[in-house]
């Protein structure tokens, strides 16, 4: 019951390995680590599982 208005999500990689997700909330660009204890990462994964959000692959 803590839905966050995420409008974009994209993996960022370092040396070919995904290290975080860049995403936007209410126009603010943020970066979350790939850590289930992080509330933003947990919410992104919840929305992905629910089919509400797709994470773009890293460039």
């Amino acid at each position: 019951m803590d839905e966050i208005n995420i409008t974009a999500a994209k993996y960022l990689a370092n040396n070919g390995e995904n290290v975080n997700i860049e995403f936007t909330v209410d126009g603010v660009t943020m970066h979350t680590p790939l850590d289930p204890a992080n509330r933003h990462y947990a919410e992104i994964m919840r929305q992905v599982k629910a089919g509400e959000l797709t994470i773009q692959e890293a460039n």
Binding site: V19, V28, T29, T32, A37, N38, Y41
Partner: protein, 361 residues
């Protein structure tokens, strides 16, 4: 002074000694995000107090100087658009989530569960019975409570003792332990009978007034304390620095305290982070490691801002001393407090940015 003049009972009142309050920022003095400005949508009002709204009402919440005696700040709530008929699944509430480590001594979910006592000062233009709830992390355990406001626009202190929960799962490490909520408006789906534990998901108490149904209604709260035992002791006032450090476990910024993140700010007067010598790199990356002032609850979400206040961007400086804002340079982050920048660019001598770390529950 003669020993006979020393009163022994000064030392025997162990209930009022320090470190009792499980609530952080109960006096509402720390406001790193908004610096006193109002919020009107879901978010943090002051540090650690989170507002959630899924109703047709619009509320304005902010740090306030309207206070009872011996306090400096409160949270004020004003209903700017009323919702006269709250839908069955709608809600409007404010929550403080308490980290599991800080409630481990309560023994909740075991036969040794201790009672807790909640106390706070409240004032509202609306009188009647108000409600709230204690939940565990997934709200599969709920204890709705009520309190009465008998005189309009008058500060009143409320005390509620809650028996310890011997059932359910209560986290005792770095995830959410207890969620303490005050309901401003609640649909019938989310209210339950006050005064007992339930396995249902509740955010408020049956029969409580919906503040959000009254246009221009006001509500203030401060002095929030949750402590083990069945006695409400006096509010535990902490130093500003102590309270700020406790808040920084969950949210920290490299801006000065009174600067709202995203505000255009000068590098010279602000604690911006910088990476120099970018032009010397031909193929690699340059990194900066920033140790947070306070160890975070978990790896934080990072938000960077350039000096103009653009999120996700940096300000660059070339060899001629020219600053350029709103530049994306492929920043990458890893770990709890390590930030990397790259690839290097021979046209950029250095770059600066501010950073916010969010490890809220």
């Amino acid at each position: 002074m003669a020993l006979s003049k020393i009163q022994n009972n000064s030392y025997t009142d162990t209930a009022v000694h320090g470190q009792r309050n499980l609530i952080i920022n109960g006096g509402c003095v720390i406001d790193q995000r908004n610096n006193g400005a109002a919020i009107t949508s879901s978010g943090y009002v002051v540090d650690r107090f989170h507002y959630q709204n899924d109703s047709d009402a619009t509320l304005s919440l902010q740090q306030s100087s309207t206070v009872p005696d011996n306090f400096a700040n409160s949270i004020s709530v004003t209903v700017s658009t009323a919702d006269a008929s709250v839908g069955t699944t709608q809600y409007s509430m404010m929550t403080q989530r308490i980290e599991g480590y800080n409630i481990a001594n309560l023994g909740w979910g075991t036969s040794a569960a201790k009672a807790v006592t909640l106390s706070f000062y409240v004032r509202s233009s609306v009188t009647g019975t108000f409600g709230g709830v204690l939940n565990n992390s997934d709200s599969s355990r709920s204890y709705p409570f009520t309190y009465s406001i008998s005189s309009a626009d008058t500060w009143e202190k409320k005390t509620i003792t809650i028996e310890g929960d011997t059932s359910g799962t209560w986290n005792t490490t770095n995830s959410s332990g207890i969620q303490l909520r005050w309901a401003f408006g609640m649909g019938s789906t989310y209210v339950g009978t006050a005064g007992s534990w339930s396995g249902n998901l509740y955010f408020g108490a049956s029969g409580a007034v919906n503040l959000i149904s009254t246009l221009n209604a006001t509500f203030y709260i401060t002095g929030v304390q949750l402590e083990a035992g069945d006695v409400a002791t006096p509010f535990e006032h902490r130093s500003f620095g102590d309270e700020l450090a406790r808040c920084q476990r969950y949210y920290e910024k490299t801006y000065p305290y009174a600067t709202t993140p995203g505000t255009a700010s000068s590098y010279n007067t602000i604690t911006a982070l910088g990476i120099a010598g970018m032009d010397e790199e031909t193929s690699g990356q340059r990194y900066i490691t920033y140790p947070w002032r306070v160890e975070k609850r978990t790896a934080p979400t990072l938000t960077i801002y350039d000096q103009a206040g653009n999120s996700g961007k940096v300000t660059t400086l070339d060899n001629a001393g020219t600053q350029t804002h709103n530049v994306g340079v492929g920043l990458a982050f890893a770990g709890t407090y390590v930030m990397g920048a790259g690839p290097a660019n021979s046209a950029i001598w250095g770059l600066t940015f501010f950073c916010v770390g969010d490890s809220e529950l």
